[in-house]
Symmetry: C2
């Protein structure tokens, strides 16, 4: 049986000032009515009951998760006492799910991605589950065909075909590549042999736990301590204690890059990680003038801009390719081409001791 | 004796959204702690008692005037029941002041101009008073030496010298010129024979009233009706009735351009009418990075910009020559070169029935 684990611990700093420490990106509605997290859960409805959808997130956000997803069983939301990257989160959920279902297959999904082609996504997931069922010692990762030489993502080099269906192909992973420089990214895109690493995975819980034992014994030891306490009065206390001592490391780095049987399945599913205001603008821009307007706006000669208003009317003259976001106590303005540099603003605010704005 | 008449009836639309119908430009602090109106009054202190400072403004603003200038005698604030441009306002004040002081000399000043060289301004006004005292049939206007070919001002062509002091010269006016096109303005500036019409005037009350009789008999008739009621129980009622029937026309057009004995005194007094956000930026820009910041701002690669924050932090990346104004329920953003087009925004808002933002 496949169980989803939605990783909702991200901080989404590049969508500041809408995304804040207290309410990161995944809890916001950026593309429609529902939050990205709500969309991530709803998207799975055709192939999975709510009982099989699990979320792991920082404990400071569990209240928001319960509010946004009141229909989820209480025990399906796991609260990290502290942020520890993806390896400890994946390991914890593998322990929990295997206890619940010894043959559990785990689907790992980030909470804050956008996927426009929901039907294709379901087809891809069904085939992924089929592959893992028939070859339970493999790890499978979903890859996204690159459309431009992004330097902010990891890439996966594709090897030989492993298995295929009428619509999809699964390949052996030849190698994982760290975030490249622009020239390298251009080469990757041009070669047609690389896909973006989407952070979406499918594997058997027992398999990933075996690989933790082999490649990340320090984490495995903690996980087994936690496993031993499951169902006892000490369960919660053990979890708190163990989790804090786990190293902060990604599952890619701790396991995937070291494992032998790793597969990649390129997925054409209308994917975006909405990694910047510019990306959101690209995603939503449909009007003739290229503007994306949320809230009240009056414009003269204003084009190709993202205008995200709060309570105030935003009035603009003579703007092109600008990002304007009014959110809470902050108003942020930058040209679309600089939207990755929002991070530099956050660094500056932190430097100046203005943490209340982060 | 010289009496000041400060014309505070302007609407200052080009400094929207800070300047609003309910609280126009002159009531705001734009260049320092005090409002432009308060500065206009304070500036006169070295040469004039408060008792000789008078203000005429729309009745909807008299409360703000009393709050900002509590030390002014109550009767020195005259409330126009309706906006009627400068000729009716000047005529009314001439009637009032002449009644108070038959030899009254009237100094007309806009309420919303900026003057950096206060001492020079006082010297100029003293000499202007001296000229009018010795030649009481003349009208004198202060001119500003143009520093660039502004197309938004009227120009005055300078004739022969009429009188001079060690520091100042008064000339005959050769002609008044309407707002020119750019080529004409460039010619005016290059020729050194033209000055900007500042809207600051000095004349005897009796002289300007005689000229109303001659050149604007319709207005004069109304003024005399009002004069007849002065000091009677019907004074206020007469004023209300008369004022509404007066034509809306500028004193330049009604009198100055028709009068024969008109003088102009070029005044080097660090003048600006703060006619746009760009003008305010020019006035206040002293920092190395060319930014003028009021309120809370954090910037990365932000230069030559005016950032007028309200309660929110304004965060900017990669901006140059931008105007950002957060005021009340509106946030306005435009490149510095487009700051004259704020008016187009107001037109659009009016069109869309969004008058609450004006």
């Amino acid at each position: 049986m496949m169980h989803a684990v939605i990783m909702a611990g991200g901080s989404g700093t590049r969508l500041w000032p809408r995304s804040r420490k207290k309410q990161p990106k995944q809890f916001h509605s950026l593309t429609g009515e529902n939050s990205l997290l709500q969309d991530t859960v709803s998207r799975l409805a055709p192939i999975m009951d709510r009982e099989h959808v699990n979320i792991i997130a920082n404990k400071s956000h569990t209240k928001q998760i319960r509010e946004q997803l009141s229909e989820l069983p209480l025990s399906n939301v796991v609260a990290e006492p502290i942020a520890r990257n993806t390896a400890p989160a994946v390991g914890t959920m593998a322990v929990v799910l295997q206890e619940r279902d010894p043959d559990a297959i785990m689907l790992v999904l980030p909470a804050d991605h956008y996927i426009s082609k929901g039907d294709d996504f379901m087809r891809v997931l069904n085939f992924a589950e089929e592959v893992i069922k028939s070859d339970p010692e493999c790890l499978l990762t979903l890859g996204i065909k690159p459309t431009y030489p992004e330097t902010g993502y990891g890439y996966i080099e594709i090897g030989h075909v492993f298995k295929s269906s009428d619509s999809d192909e699964v390949f052996w992973v030849k190698s994982f590549k760290e975030k490249p420089d622009l020239a390298t990214a251009e080469h990757y895109v041009a070669s047609w042999k690389y896909v973006w690493n989407s952070g979406m995975f499918v594997w058997k819980c027992s398999t990933i736990l075996d690989l933790f034992a082999k490649h990340a014994p320090e984490i495995y030891k903690g996980l087994m301590e936690y496993k031993a306490a499951l169902g006892t009065p000490e369960e919660e206390e053990a979890f708190q204690k163990v989790y804090k001592d786990l190293p902060s490391i990604s599952v890619d780095y701790a396991i995937m890059e070291k494992a032998e049987k790793v597969l990649v399945m390129p997925a054409d599913i209308g994917w975006s990680d909405i990694g910047s205001w510019a990306a959101l603008h690209d995603l939503l821009s449909t009007e003739d003038d290229g503007n994306v307007v949320i809230g009240k706006h009056v414009g003269v000669d204003t084009h190709n801009s993202l205008i995200h208003a709060g309570n105030k009317l935003i009035a603009t003259v003579g703007l092109d390719n600008m990002i304007i976001v009014d959110s809470g106590d902050v108003l942020m303005i930058c040209p679309k081409g600089r939207s990755q540099d929002v991070k530099a603003l956050l660094d500056k605010l932190e430097e100046q001791g203005c943490g209340e704005y982060l």
